[in-house]
């Protein structure tokens, strides 16, 4: 029944991807049936309920690919080109349980691996994203951007215990809980610690090495052996770290204020950069190379003809996917005729290492929601309605 419009949608998307291929991105079509493990490992258990999982006779778990980034990255790592700079483009079906909406939909996209010129590669990804909306008749989509690396740089620059840093970095990805977390961390007085209060207090003033050795000895005297994947020394480390943190310590109020001011910074990239420099100077911290990269990226975007004054940047804008490590962006319909982003992308420098690459491989990419763009009804290059 729906084969005619579907074919239309595919044909129109195909022209877009053909243009990506002409721009030097090799067109690939990874397998639809994928091992489930990499998706669950990289995207977390929460992804499981959106995945169509199947088990083979030997008990191995497979899934219908819920995205194409991981399949493209895995094929690249398995190929002779692994670790060398390479760009890929794709068009294909992805499968996600989305409740009412169809679980099967088309995505096009780009993956760029191994480029050392970070700022230029970031700018190129965004420019290619705008090319996608333009292909569907929308030359000026709303552009929303963020930069996860700026937040990481802020946290790295703060004088905070490692436990706080870990926690804040992890929670940044979850906008809904982050504010709540800050609140809790600032007010937190940990209850129920009384059992070890004395030991913790004694350890707090001990030399960390000696404290660690003591806890290790105590555990072995008590006959507790390590089970599961955590070693005794790992447990002792964290126990001592908790002691150093102080049983009732909380995130200092001024640190919280600084984080909140940082996360309130938003606007055009140029205004934001200025605000970030001012904040860093006032707090006597350095955001290191992250801010330089940010400004350099804005320059490359302008050079590619993107009107950077139309970009809405926000430090608090981070994707819910925890493998993004730097630049992130989304393109939206200014008239909001469809729900959700039309194009989304970003930098995920840790992804290939997590997939088993022996050396770090920088990576940036984007994905295009074909049905959403097609639903806008506009068409620039024929084939549409």
């Amino acid at each position: 029944m729906s084969s005619v419009p579907t074919t239309d949608i595919y044909t129109q998307a195909d022209t877009l991807v053909a243009a990506y291929a002409r721009a030097g991105y090799a067109r690939v079509s990874p397998a639809i049936l994928q091992p489930a493990e990499p998706f669950l490992d990289l995207s977390g258990e929460d992804m499981r309920r959106h995945m169509y999982l199947v088990t083979d006779a030997g008990g191995r778990e497979f899934c219908l690919r819920p995205d194409l980034t991981i399949p493209v990255a895995r094929d690249y790592l398995a190929s002779a080109a692994a670790a060398r700079p390479a760009g890929f483009c794709y068009l294909g079906t992805v499968f996600r349980d989305r409740g009412e909406a169809s679980g099967e939909f088309l995505q096009a996209g780009i993956e760029s691996f191994g480029r050392a010129d970070t700022a230029a590669a970031d700018a190129e990804a965004l420019a290619l994203g705008i090319e996608a909306t333009a292909h569907y008749g929308m030359a000026d989509p709303d552009i929303v951007t963020g930069d996860v690396a700026l937040f990481s740089a802020l946290i790295a620059a703060l004088d905070l215990a490692p436990a706080w840093k870990r926690r804040l970095l992890k929670d940044f990805n979850r906008k809904a809980t982050f504010a709540h977390d800050l609140e809790r961390l600032t007010l937190a007085t940990r209850n129920g610690r009384s059992e070890y209060q004395g030991v913790l207090a004694a350890l707090a003033n001990a030399n960390p090495k000696a404290a660690q050795a003591l806890v290790t000895d105590l555990l072995s005297i008590a006959g507790k052996s390590a089970v599961g994947g955590r070693s005794i020394s790992e447990i002792a480390d964290r126990f001592v770290e908790q002691a150093e943190l102080g049983a009732s310590s909380a995130l200092p109020a001024e640190t919280r204020a600084l984080i909140e001011r940082f996360l309130a910074i938003a606007g055009t990239p140029d205004d934001a950069a200025q605000a970030l420099r001012a904040l860093a100077a006032e707090a006597h911290i350095s955001l290191g190379g992250a801010l330089d990269l940010f400004e350099s990226r804005t320059g490359f975007l302008a050079a590619r003809g993107v009107d950077v004054r139309r970009i809405r940047f926000a430090t608090a804008f981070g994707r819910g996917v925890d493998y993004y490590t730097g630049f992130v962006f989304e393109l939206h319909d200014p008239a909001r005729r469809v729900d959700g982003q039309l194009v989304a992308g970003g930098r995920y420098d840790a992804l290939l290492t997590r997939l088993g690459s022996p050396q770090p491989v920088p990576a940036v990419g984007l994905a295009v929601w074909i049905e959403r763009l097609a639903a806008l009804g506009g068409a620039q290059s024929g084939g549409g309605r």
Binding site: D41, E45, R48, R166, T177, R193, K224, S225, G228, G229
Partner: protein, 322 residues
């Protein structure tokens, strides 16, 4: 007349407890064709077909609306049925099959007391080992929802259908989510519960399927069954206390209601000072002392078999849901 289908666990303690529960409510489950039959009926009550199947299967059948009533654990309902409250109604906890679904970690993890600790450990574990903490469980959905509510993301679920508590020692997982009654199996395997890690306090429930065919005759049969069950479960909550003394008045009764939670099924004292009270079992002795202090010579306490009331709260709950 179409029959109401009641699904009862087919094996073990759960079956014994379920049969005893129905027997107490005056509903004797019978197997006309012998003990090994998987279909039965209720003695002296027409229009009921009893299906003896496994608790997991009961849960599936309830979700599908293939049976009207079933006895199953709340843990299975919450785990196996997505958006369970849209599919079934938990009518009443039955007072047996108690078990908690809990998060348990190795005892050696002295740095982990609560879920916030576990969250931190999960994140640092991933940083150190380049893989996620593994949680062995058969409660995949409960675990995911509970960990999500605590903001824990850096973990993986390893499906385990038996002897889950052995997974950490076997090296197939770092921690577990499992069902436990006393915690002794956990302790025997070198595991401890996390303080705020109780995901669900479960017990056997009488569950109704929203999607079953609820015609007029099924509703009427359900009303009869639920009337008896409600009368019995209400009786379970109280002891009957009888006494007679001259000094008994409304002020004294008001005090007894406040202090001991008693009810007066037949109103205040009769003209001869005869008084009947229903009192929660835990307060019986205190009430008896109180009554004697105020002039009662003797106080007689008895267990109650049934309390039939004009209203039928379980049936009201069912009809409200259908």
């Amino acid at each position: 007349m179409s029959a109401l289908v009641l699904a009862v666990p087919a094996k073990g303690r759960l079956q014994e407890n379920a049969e005893a529960f129905f027997a107490r409510a005056g509903l004797e489950l019978v197997k006309p064709r012998g003990a090994r039959d998987y279909r039965g009926a209720i003695a002296r009550l027409d229009g009921v077909e009893v299906a003896f199947i496994s608790a997991a299967e009961i849960t599936e059948q309830l979700a599908a609306g293939a049976v009207h009533f079933g006895i199953t654990g709340e843990d299975l309902v919450r785990e196996m049925i997505p958006a369970a409250d849209d599919k079934v109604v938990l009518l009443d906890g039955l007072g047996f099959g108690y078990a908690n679904v809990v998060v348990a970690v190795p005892e050696a993890w002295i740095d982990v007391r609560d879920m916030a600790d576990l969250d931190d450990v999960a994140t640092s574990f991933r940083g150190k080992h380049d893989r996620r903490l593994r949680v062995a469980t058969k409660y995949i959905n409960l675990t995911r929802a509970f960990f999500g509510s605590h903001g824990i993301v850096d973990y993986r679920i390893v499906e385990s259908t038996g002897a889950t508590e052995g997974a950490p020692a076997a090296g197939t997982a770092e921690l577990i989510v499992d069902i436990t009654t006393t915690g002794s199996t956990l302790a025997a395997n070198g595991l401890k519960m996390i303080e705020d890690g109780v995901i669900l306090r479960s017990q056997a429930n009488l569950v109704a399927a929203r999607g079953a065919p609820w015609g007029k005759s099924e509703r009427e049969t359900a009303r009869l069954i639920l009337d008896r069950i409600a009368a019995q479960s209400r009786a379970r909550l109280f002891r009957e206390v009888r006494t007679r003394f001259a000094g008994c008045n409304d002020a004294l009764l008001g005090l007894a209601k406040d202090k001991f939670g008693v009810t007066t099924p037949f109103g205040g004292p009769t003209s001869s000072g005869m008084l009947t009270l229903h009192c929660p079992p835990d307060n019986i002795h205190a009430l008896a002392s109180f009554l004697r202090e105020h002039g009662a010579d003797s106080v007689i306490v008895a267990e109650i078999d049934y309390v039939f009331t004009r209203d039928n709260p379980l049936f009201a709950k069912l009809t409200a849901a259908l």
